[in-house]
């Protein structure tokens, strides 16, 4: 029995998901590859966005992969941490902005 749900070695096996359903996997990986190619945004910018989103979805595989990718793209540790703070600010803000809803309700219920 495995002791944890996550195994770092599984990251390299991502492509193996095609084993159970090849067609959708191919479509996904083709799409994934296209998304990360330079377009209006550079590959570097896209990688920093991916790092921030990885923290938002709290995916250990993604954090592992995009920490490596951002380093490979020449990002600084400061840039990487600023990206994580953006994710944190949006997550925190998403909670806080609902405070308005709470206030609306509280005010409605209060004399």
């Amino acid at each position: 029995m495995e002791k944890t749900y996550y195994n770092p070695a599984d990251l390299a096996k991502f492509g193996n998901i095609s084993e159970f359903e090849p067609n959708l996997a191919k479509k996904f990986f083709d799409y994934y590859g296209e998304v990360f190619k330079a377009g209006a945004l550079t590959e570097r910018e896209k990688t920093l966005i991916a790092l921030a989103v990885s923290h938002t979805v709290q995916c250990p595989y993604c954090i592992d992969a995009y920490t490596q990718e951002t380093l490979a793209k020449g990002c600084t540790e400061t840039e990487m941490m600023e990206a994580v703070h953006v994710a944190s600010a949006i997550r925190g803000g998403a909670s806080l902005v609902h405070g308005v809803q709470m206030m609306n309700k509280a005010k409605k219920l209060s004399m």
Partner: protein, 350 residues
């Protein structure tokens, strides 16, 4: 001052110990060796495509002790090529007209016969002379301040390491204060025309990742370096060459100590690109050490893996025809040259 692995009597100062580690448990289980990867891609042996680059290592002495150095160079290394050996190289250049002469070290400029050698190579008809200059040597001592003028006079192509456009990562890899001194040297090179559009004086920079990861896209990194270096420091250069760190010598020591070795090897194997086999630098290069022995590349030189015996292992028995027929010696460090976009002393290969 940081000591070389040799001065520390470190295990990895012994090339046999390095090779034993590289061929250790990682390849005893599921992972195919480099030789097996080549075979699976149609190369039972690796053959030269013709000798274009005559790469000469003038010695392992250096004014820096970089953490990733595959040469294990440093101020405590005393191995230096003699003028007699240089003379044989000059004669070979005159005879064979190699398209590129690539001078490396250590800091090649620290060899007392460096300027004599460049002058003689030029007289012998060398078309392109590359000097792998670590930049800080130019400002290390007054006697080196005139190097930019000397390079210009001899139309040398300068190739210099600068792992990042800010001090943080550069100094972490190359030593405290190296970035500021490198910028000073780059400005001196720019001042005599190096890297300036239309000057014909080529100044290329080399990017090595400052850690256990692979280099990113060379073109995009070059664009970033150009933008940042001009904006922050008013420095210009021609090309950025991305070189993957090969798992040997000090970088191997770093990988093992930081517990990154297996992950890094996995990265190299996962990124194995069959398309990079065609342009492997060992196929058009021969590397010569300070004593005149021949190797398939500078990395093999540091692992003491000489060219195969039938090809002639010393410049005193140099035989171009035999060299062009040789089987190239490969080992597990070679995965560094086939990962991703491929890697060589001239940057990416695909």
């Amino acid at each position: 001052m940081t000591k070389s692995l040799l001065a520390q009597s470190h295990t990895f100062a012994n090339s046999q110990k390095q090779l034993a580690h590289l061929n250790g448990p990682f390849f005893e289980n599921d992972n195919l060796t480099f030789q097996e990867h080549l075979k699976n891609n149609g190369h039972s042996t690796l053959k030269p495509t013709g000798l274009d680059i005559f790469q000469i290592n003038l010695g392992y002495m250096c004014n820096q002790t970089c953490k990733h150095c595959h040469v294990d160079a440093g101020p405590d290394r005393k191995e230096i090529m003699t003028r007699d050996t240089m003379q044989i190289c000059v004669d070979l250049v005159r005879k064979h007209k190699f398209s590129t002469i690539d001078l490396t070290g250590g800091a090649p400029e620290m060899n007392p016969d460096f300027r004599w050698f460049v002058t003689e190579l030029k007289k012998a008809g060398a078309k392109e002379i590359i000097v792998r200059c670590n930049l800080t040597i130019i400002v290390a001592n007054k006697k080196y301040h005139s190097l930019p003028e000397f390079f210009k006079e001899h139309e040398v192509r300068v190739v210099s390491s600068l792992p990042y456009y800010a001090a943080s990562k550069t100094d972490r890899q190359r030593g405290n204060g190296v970035f500021d001194r490198s910028i000073k040297a780059l400005k001196m090179l720019n001042d005599v025309g190096y890297g300036q559009p239309g000057s014909g004086l080529i100044l290329d920079l080399v990017y090595n990742p400052a850690g256990a990861f692979l280099p990113g896209n060379q073109v995009e990194l070059e664009n970033n370096f150009k933008k940042e270096l001009i904006e922050r420091h008013d420095v210009v250069f021609n090309q950025l060459l991305c070189i993957t760190n090969l798992p040997i010598s000090r970088f191997l020591d770093y990988l093992v100590k930081s517990e990154n070795y297996e992950d890094y090897m996995n990265k190299l194997l996962t990124a194995f690109n069959p398309g990079a086999i065609e342009g492997l630098m060992c196929r058009n290069t021969v590397s010569i050490d300070w004593e005149g022995y021949l190797y398939d590349c500078d990395f093999n030189q540091m692992l003491h893996l000489k060219v195969e015996k039938a090809a002639g292992q010393h410049i005193s028995e140099f035989d171009l025809e035999a060299l062009n027929k040789r089987d190239i010696i490969v080992n597990q460090h070679c995965f560094g040259c086939t990962a991703g976009a491929g890697s060589s002393c001239q940057g990416t290969t695909t």
